[in-house]
Symmetry: C2
Subunit: 735 residues, 2 copies
């Protein structure tokens, strides 16, 4: 295997830029062949190099590589487009001398060569859509060696350096770069609350007012810091303004075609008012989500209280698991249903651009996540604790369900009078969501899919072998599916490619959502248990590595996307800090100080007006502080943003100077002579004046402007007037 | 006077573009003469035409006109600058064929020729500053004829048309254009609440919940509408992005000089952190303002209550005026003091750009205005009415003051037990501020200055005549101040110019502030008396005309300024609607329904928690609705914004097409031939292949890419693979 290792060292992926996965099963073979020819011709005409290998039983792998010349031209076009949209400041150098700066740019440009519409200079391949239905996937190949090296390096350090973030961006594009930069910033920022929270927990316990204030302030500063950091990074990575360039959604269904007055082109429009009407459906949807999830969560919650605190019948040690099982089974199911409803709703809203579509979907998903993640704790804090005395007796209804299974004495024993509010329930719940659930999430997200994939591959291999053994009897061929045997030296490579093609597609949204929800626990509930930031700090060290592992091993390599923000999740972070100011102050008022706890464990002297007043003040102080932090942050310009501004300024200055110079040079010397030495008052000049005066005598304006010739004469007259005025001392003397 | 009327008809202002007011009293005559020569030479070198006349005893009038050629060049430069800063979309046509589009552009460009720094192609005149201390004013001349015509036209119609707003902008620049457009939008928007408020007042009286909701909603919609309208107008007037171009403040004192890494130039910097420290002084300042004004207002208020409702002594009918007189005298004085402190503070904060300076000052002025305008009503509503029972007895202290003047029986008669809260006080106060104060304001702002000016001119004329009579005895000259007699035909013109030069400078901020405060009454207190919008509707019809009258007659003509917004006042409008949601809900809860009124006129059953809960809900509903309205509004693109976007798009498309074309044309035909017909598999070609293969045999990547020659071969192999796969039916058969 000397050749293979050499290949690893040289061009690990045999210099393949993209692999197109071409499915030929649907609708018919002849159609597939015709389409394949069309596709290959189009690619070849765009100047791309092609190789074809077999994929699996129903697909081909089309390997694509862009030769230097074509690539450079495409890079040039892409940069010109950037320049026109104001993403670049400087007009790009000519096509002949241009080079892609990074692997991500190279891949992005090549993908654009294939997917941009023909009018914009691309081939116009639209995977899974329209006439290109057979093209199911377009993917670059993982650079496993580098990936493994990074994984190894990162596992031995605490923070990623700026250069390492740059490397991620260079390899995977700005979209992933922004995610990892965010994760890294968040992780780094967590040091402070982790340390401070630990001290507070040690010295002051839960519900400390100092911790709450510091925590809120920290959350505000972090969100505002990240906003600045986005500007900084987008300047550093030259993607500032990229999100302003919106891309048309392919699925957009225009209501009518309209001639655009400004551009003169026909374009499909969908009336904004109609879309707004459709968007109104979000209100019933949010209500549905709240009620649907709320009922499930509240019921399970009630069952749990009933079993754990009222029920004294048999099997109690087993029954306590029922609510947990119910929640684990029902909530994800309900969420999945709601998310599919949300997607349908979002499709129905018929957005014109991908950006608007994604933002709208993110909003809806956030509502669902907010409810599933925070409602249980909110219920405990603001319903169970203050109202348990009134609610618990009503849980009798569950006794009806239990009765058939339990003897009479046991039923009688479930007596409400003994009921006592569990003072640790709130804390335990917060610990569950911020520690246990995070670990479970990690397992579900990273470990389980890996195991599943491994098992699936093994199963497939076994199946194939089994089939082959069977087929051996029927046909002389070694294997019917391997008509074209892979060349020996490509075998390993092709096996890897076939595996990668099978992997699911990675979307960064999912990971961002997870971080955003995690941040929410911190902003909303960490006063309950100040170790929350410490737990997250540890968790996120792993999170960053495991996310990278996940991307490298469990997903196909994502096409590089350009971004200048983490998108709608940023707004959600801001929103969560806001809600946090309300919940924290309310929690603090209700639970701080032990004296408040009554005989049954519930806080006794909660006064409605005092609670509301603390919320009112906390919220408005939050808003004022946020405003102050925003203004302060806006003043400090991050280094790359300043650099970018400087470049723009210089470019303008150069251009302006050149236009000024042209004008100044042409007649300067000659003009100055005339200006400084107007024609002397010779006889001819006077006659000329008189003539011109009489000519223009009908126009008082011309006469007005003819009185003084040149600035020297004006100066003479002006100084005459000045000299003739009495100075103060003269004026006094006169009097 | 035939010539004068003719001048009116032709070029009313004798084609004068600008008048420079040159003061030669300070520091000495010789210095003044030298500076004058320098000034005239600089102006002449910039290509401007000059005439000099005498101003008054200590000043010269320098008339400036820009000849066509120089003007066109300056217009070109200005447009290139706009283009570089992204204000224009299209590169301007060459200097020779360019013309200023409007009078405002003409004047703006000429002013820039005089005031821009020499590095940017101007003369660099800085009025009242540095070496140009003698230049005290630079002003264009009023076009009285047009002004009078417009005043006359507008007095006969309800709304200004879009064309009339364009005309204002064409003549006075975008800054004034935006003010009048705002005033007009506001006025037009007031129709609805005026009508609705009138019906509510007639049918439901004050404190109607329907009116309050509608009013808040209206305020939100109006503010958001105006934000859209700003975009629309800035596209229409081609000033979009103008506020991003910041101008350096001349008074800025850098702490140190630093070489800018990006531009390589030295520039003065002032550390942002230091400025922030200075800005912290705003907090004590705001407290000072609140306390200072609060004490005055509260004291006068207490005195008023004491006199009007407790005091029964002699002279009561006269004494009731004392608090009014005190307020009228003390509040403006205190405001003036505070504003001068605010200005000092603002200077101290040492802003780098004029925009930042103005915004910071506007913020401070807004705080002062907020207190002076709304505090009296807030005191009545939220202190006097609920707490009068406890406070009024303490007003006894005033009795001590009164005692010396009053007989003992009278003092005894001031008995608190009879005290009854005046239920109409709140309403009367709102009426005072929204009707009476508006009328008084109009008089103070427009009528009084006009009368004062008229009187001052008469006095000056009288004085001069008087002096002349006196001087006649001393000297043979007719008048010592009129050394240079004006030519007969210019007399009237120069008299007018001398008058205009004397007028104060107009700033649009003052008028915007007034409107903003007015809007605040509407947002904060109109539920008390639903006729408020009707009163403002009538008032603003007059306001628009009187403001224009004021600008034309009582101020010198403002230099045209470009703006794309009404600036910080927009934020203040938003802030006021927010505060309005709080005050309205509180007022509504406290005062709606008569049943709440107790025996002494105070509302009896105000519950703290209920009040706070209504505020909490009202505020958050407000925020949600505002968010919804914002999103909805953002979707609807105003026509000119769409047009602007279309233009930008077309420009980009043209450019891109041209770059694509160049590339495509050069080798297209030839290339396609090669691509579609790769060299046939001749003996030579095969040998060549073999040779190349052996050459590259060490590189597996090259071997990989050499397997298929051209897309036709790939297609052949691909279709071979496809055909060789068993179809579903075949596969079934096999099994």
């Amino acid at each position: 295997m000397a050749a293979a290792t050499e290949a690893n060292a040289l061009g690990y992926n045999l210099k393949v830029d993209y692999v197109i996965h071409y499915n030929f099963k649907d609708p018919s073979k002849s159609h597939a062949v015709a389409q394949l020819e069309k596709l290959l011709q189009a690619l070849a005409h765009a100047g791309l190099q092609i190789e074809i290998r077999q994929g699996d039983e129903e697909s081909l792998l089309i390997f694509v590589r862009a030769p230097k010349k074509q690539l450079n031209r495409a890079v040039y076009q892409s940069r010109v487009r950037d320049w026109l949209y104001g993403i670049r400041n400087t007009e790009p150098e000519p096509a002949s001398s241009i080079e892609p700066h990074t692997e991500a740019e190279r891949l992005r440009v090549i993908e654009h060569m294939m997917t941009l519409p023909t009018a914009e200079g691309g081939v116009g391949i639209t995977p899974n859509h329209g006439e290109w239905k057979n093209v199911t996937k377009i993917l670059p190949l993982h650079d496993e060696e580098t990936n493994n090296k990074w994984l190894h390096d990162w596992s031995q350090k605490t923070f990623l350096s700026e250069e390492e973030l740059d490397q991620i961006r260079d390899k995977f594009g700005e979209s992933l770069g922004f995610y990892f930069a965010f994760l890294q910033s968040y992780f780094r920022f967590l040091i402070f609350p982790a340390a401070f929270g630990f001290s507070c927990w040690f010295l002051l316990g839960g519900f400390s007012i100092i911790y709450t204030i510091v925590n809120s302030l920290w959350a505000i500063v972090f969100v505002e810091y990240w906003k600045r950091q986005e500007v900084e990074l987008s300047c550093r990575w030259q993607t500032k303004g990229v999100s302003a360039v919106e891309t048309k959604r392919r699925e957009f269904v225009p209501e009518k075609e309209v001639r655009d007055d400004a551009t003169g082109e026909m374009r499909g429009v969908f009336p904004a008012t109609k879309r707004m009407q459709r968007q109104l459906l979000q209100i019933p949807f949010a209500l549905l989500a709240a009620v649907g999830l709320g009922v499930i969560i509240a019921t399970c919650f009630a069952i749990e209280i009933f079993i754990s605190e009222l029920y004294k019948g048999p099997l109690k040690s087993w029954l306590v698991f029922i609510p947990t099982i119910l929640v684990s089974a029902l909530v994800p199911t309900m969420s999945a249903v709601l998310i599919s409803v949300a997607t349908k709703l979002n499709d129905y809203e018929n957005y014109e651009t991908n950006e608007a579509y994604d933002a709208a979907l993110a909003r809806k998903v956030f509502v669902i996540n907010f409810i599933t993640s925070y409602l249980p704790i909110l219920l405990t804090a603001f319903v169970y604790v203050p109202y348990a005395r009134w609610i618990v007796p009503h849980l009798d209804i569950f006794r009806l369900t239990v009765r058939p299974f339990v003897s009479k004495e046991h039923v009688a024993a479930t007596d409400c009078s003994h009921f006592k509010i569990d003072p640790n329930r709130l804390r335990n719940q917060v610990i569950y969501f911020t520690v246990t659930a995070q670990i479970v999430g990690f397992a579900l997200e990273t470990v389980v899919p890996y195991v599943k994939q491994y098992a699936a591959r093994k199963y497939k291999e076994y199946n194939q072998k089994h089939n082959n053994v069977n087929n051996d009897k029927d046909s002389p061929e070694h294997s019917p599916v391997r008509t074209y045997e892979d060349p020996e030296e490509e075998k390993e490579f092709l096996k890897r490619v076939r595996n990668e093609v099978e992997l699911p597609e990675y979307t960064v949204t999912e990971d961002l959502r997870e971080m955003c929800i995690q941040f929410g626990y911190l902003a909303l509930f960490s006063p309950v248990w100040p170790l929350v930031p410490l737990s997250f700090f540890i968790n996120n060290w792993i999170e960053l590595r495991s996310d990278f592992f996940k991307i490298c091993k469990e997903f196909r390599r994502p096409s590089p996307l350009r971004r200048d923000t983490i998108g709608p999740w940023l707004d959600n972070l801001g929103f969560l800090t806001w809600v946090g100011s309300i919940t924290s102050s309310a929690l603090l008022y209700m639970f701080s100080g032990d004296s408040r706890t009554g005989p049954n464990g519930e806080p006794t002297d909660i006064k409605g007006w005092a609670l509301l007043l603390s919320i009112f003040f906390a919220e408005h102080i939050y808003l004022i502080v946020r405003y102050a932090v925003q203004t302060a942050m806006a003043r400090v310009e991050p280094p790359n943003a300043r650099k970018e501004r400087g470049e723009r300024y210089l470019m303008r200055k150069r251009y302006l100077e050149s236009t000024l110079q042209v004008d100044v040079n042409d007649t300067l010397a000659e003009k100055d002579k005339v200006i400084d030495n107007p024609p002397a008052l010779t006889r001819e000049a006077l006659e000329e004046d008189a003539r011109r005066n009489s000519e223009h005598s009908t126009d008082p304006a011309e006469r007005f402007w003819m009185r003084q010739r040149g600035w020297t004469e004006s100066a003479k007259i002006g100084s005459g007037i000045i000299q003739s005025q009495p100075t103060k001392s003269e004026a006094k003397k006169k009097q």
